[in-house]
Amino acid sequence: MQSYSLTHLKELESESIFVLREVAAQFENPVMLFSGGKDSIVMFHLARKAFWPGKVPFPLLHVDTGHNFPETIEFRDWLMKETGADLIVGSVQQSIDEGKVTEEKGVNASRNGLQTVTLLESLEKGKYDAALGGGRRDEEKARAKERFFSHRDEFGQWDPKNQRPELWNIFNGKKAMGEHFRVFPISNWTEMDIWQYILAEKIAIPTIYFAHKRKVIERDGVILADNEVIMKKEGEVGVEKMIRFRTIGDMTCTGAVESDADSLEKIIEEVSSTRVTERGSRSDDKRSEAAMEDRKKQGYF
């Protein structure tokens, strides 16, 4: 007898496609946040599946901090060309130049917090009523409480105590003028699911996910790439190491791991035996125990 059951990856894929189609159907002007990291790459891949052979019916928005790895930008531009997707870039540098935000000072300065301002501004400018993000609930404990459809008030704020209940797979995207939604189609995926899916679907990803030689500095147990935007403390010198990145963020705060995993198979092996969460190597989350909760309330993804 035929067994009608899906593997867990297929079930997750189906759920995400369902959510993406709901967004296209329920909102007038959605946009997909694209960071160039593996999660947003998978999300975009799922969007192509959801609307194939039609075009993805919304543009991609990249909030460019100006501190991105060049490999990320290169990959982003290649992918857009390859798939014919529409890309909009919001620039943090521009927000700084216009005096809307002030850059942090000191050795641990990061543009991570400033992104929120540029993001909200870009959303307002484009009059987007839904912004799709590649957040996963397994990443961090504040994210564990997120809905698929997450309502934001006119200031883009998240109110964790006052979330709409999300029942079955019926998503309520109704809102008042000026409000918008954040939607997380890959909420239920774990880091391992993402890697297995990238392998199974042969999805292209930026080269910095694979092991390579790079000059790095070590600070408070975090390995940071040595580059022109990072402010070095006295006595810090770059040393060459074989490393790879588990997440892609700004060059100032994205930690690398020592690794010789130069293929997807080896990365998966590494991920399955690793004992530290992927955000454990991000210095932006280490600032305080509730760092993510605070940033999310202000409108961060």
């Binding site: 009608y4 059951s5 899906l6 593997t7 867990h8 297929k10 079930e11 997750l12 894929e13 189906s14 759920e15 369902f18 189609r21 709901e22 159907a25 192509r48 599946k49 959801a50 609307f51 194939w52 052979p53 039609g54 075009k55 609930r137 397994d138 404990k141 504040a142 564990a144 409480k145 964790p160 105590k161 979330q163 709409r164 209940p165 999300e166 029942l167 079955w168 797979n169 019926i170 309520n172 109704k174 809102k175 008042a176 909420s187 239920n188 774990t190 391992m192 699911d193 297995q196 392998l199 199974a200 198979e265 690793t274 004992r275 530290v276 969460t277 454990g280 125990e289 509730a290 909760e293």
Partner: protein
């Protein structure tokens, strides 16, 4: 490479956990994550730090409950304020936990967590036995038609691992559950704090012959939980590329809500009732011969019919109910009470409409299942039977037959909040 294949072969079990405030639910989840080695070193270090500050319990000297306490507001008050989702995997299965708080005022959260679960774990304190909240949780689990319920009689360490205590609690719960409609009920005596029968078999309860909680979670048969009989395909989105290559392509995108659709099947489209045949079931990976719940796919028909979002494709010989007068059980979640004559927006499958509440038939006392016919004041966290009339016909099945086509939500038109979860009778 074999490990690779194993991973691609795993299925997915979604379960929800319910218990009263001090039943040790967070400890149980922490225990499952800890003993299945799903805790990362940095998470462990973080809770070790926090345990040192707040105070730890348990044999590891850390407070495992802290693993699941998410928001600062909760840590300060020592409560869980919302549904949180957790993930772990064993070589057999991947698990998604909807962790819901047990306080009375948060019934809506349990309903939310239960709505997508295949299984419910209901925690019972071995010292207290069957209490009001156990009844409430069991009733909600059965009302939401969760196919499998496991009662974990927890804190067995505090009753000296006595078999008699466990057996008498089990008898009480079985007696209560005989009034409910649940297919599969299991009982396990555990100590989440000490780790007995959670992942590892207890040596202190050799009188218990059954499997551990984890063994049950890994082996419960779930592929039969979906309805694979009644073919239902709510149209979610119409794909019309209008490119040179796909000039005449008109595909109906959606997720199968019931049954198995095959190429060549004779189908009817509701509400028009026009019939056609399935020309093709499409995905970006290529055509598939058949599609079943819960697959997302795109269906193309042989004839050019006018089909749009909110319509439903079904088999000609097996149609859902079609109607505007609908009876349902509702779990109310609004801050304002539910009143007869009020109008709400509704969402049912991919269809949007409005409704008027014609009648509140009765309220259910969720602690003893009695009908309260003379009290029609329905507040948040109440469960009631109501009748509504909708502005357009809905295509539905009874909730007990199909959770996807039998569920409905009510939305307050003044603030757009989801205020009711309805299960069609």
């Amino acid at each position: 490479m074999t490990e690779q294949h194993a991973y691609l072969d795993m299925d997915l079990l979604r379960f929800t956990t319910a218990g009263s405030v001090d039943d040790g639910k967070s400890t149980l989840i922490g225990r499952m994550l800890y003993d299945s080695k799903s805790i990362f070193q940095d998470q462990m270090e973080a809770i070790e730090k926090a345990s040192a500050r707040i105070g730890g319990e348990g044999e590891e000297g850390v407070n495992l409950a802290l693993l699941t306490d998410g928001l600062r507001a909760e840590r300060e008050q020592g409560i869980t304020i919302d549904v949180a989702y957790r993930y772990f995997a064993t070589p057999k299965r991947k698990f998604i936990i909807a962790d819901t708080p047990g306080h009375i005022q948060y019934t809506r959260n349990m309903v939310t967590g239960a709505s997508s679960a295949n299984l419910a774990i209901i925690l019972v304190d071995a010292r207290k036995g069957l209490i009001e909240q156990t009844c409430r949780h069991s009733f909600i689990a059965s009302l939401l038609k969760i196919p499998h319920i496991i009662f974990c009689v927890n804190k067995m360490d505090l009753v000296d691992y006595e078999q008699d205590t466990y057996e008498s609690i089990k008898d009480d719960i079985e007696a209560f559950c005989s009034k409910l409609d649940v297919q599969d009920i299991r009982f396990i005596p555990i100590s989440a704090l000490k780790g007995d029968n959670v992942v590892h078999k207890s040596e202190r309860m050799d009188w218990y012959q059954g499997g551990t909680l984890m063994y049950n979670l890994e082996n419960i048969h779930i592929s039969g939980d979906y309805n694979h009989v009644d073919c239902r395909f709510p149209v979610q989105f119409v794909i019309r590329p209008q490119t040179d290559e796909f000039h005449d392509y008109r595909g109906y995108a959606g997720r199968i809500a019931g049954g198995v659709f095959k190429k060549g099947d004779e189908v009817a489209v509701l509400p028009s009732g026009f019939t056609s045949r399935i020309a093709k079931i499409d995905t970006m990976d290529g055509e598939v011969d058949e599609a079943f719940t819960p697959m997302s796919c795109t269906i193309l028909l042989e004839d050019n019919l006018d089909v749009s979002r909110g319509d439903m494709i079904v088999r000609t010989n097996n149609k859902p109910e079609v109607g505007q007068d609908i009876d349902m059980m509702i779990c109310w979640m609004g801050d304002q009470k539910l009143v007869e004559g009020a109008k709400y927006s509704i969402k049912h499958t991919s269809k949007d409409a409005r409704c008027i509440v014609k009648e509140i038939r009765y309220k259910v006392n969720v602690n003893n299942l009695h009908r309260i016919e003379d009290d029609k004041e329905i507040f948040a966290n109440d469960i009631a039977r109501i009748s509504i009339r909708t502005t357009q016909p809905l295509f539905y099945d009874r909730y007990t037959r199909n959770r996807a086509t039998g569920s409905i939500i009510l939305i307050d038109e003044s603030n757009n909040k989801t205020v009711g979860a309805g299960m069609i009778i």
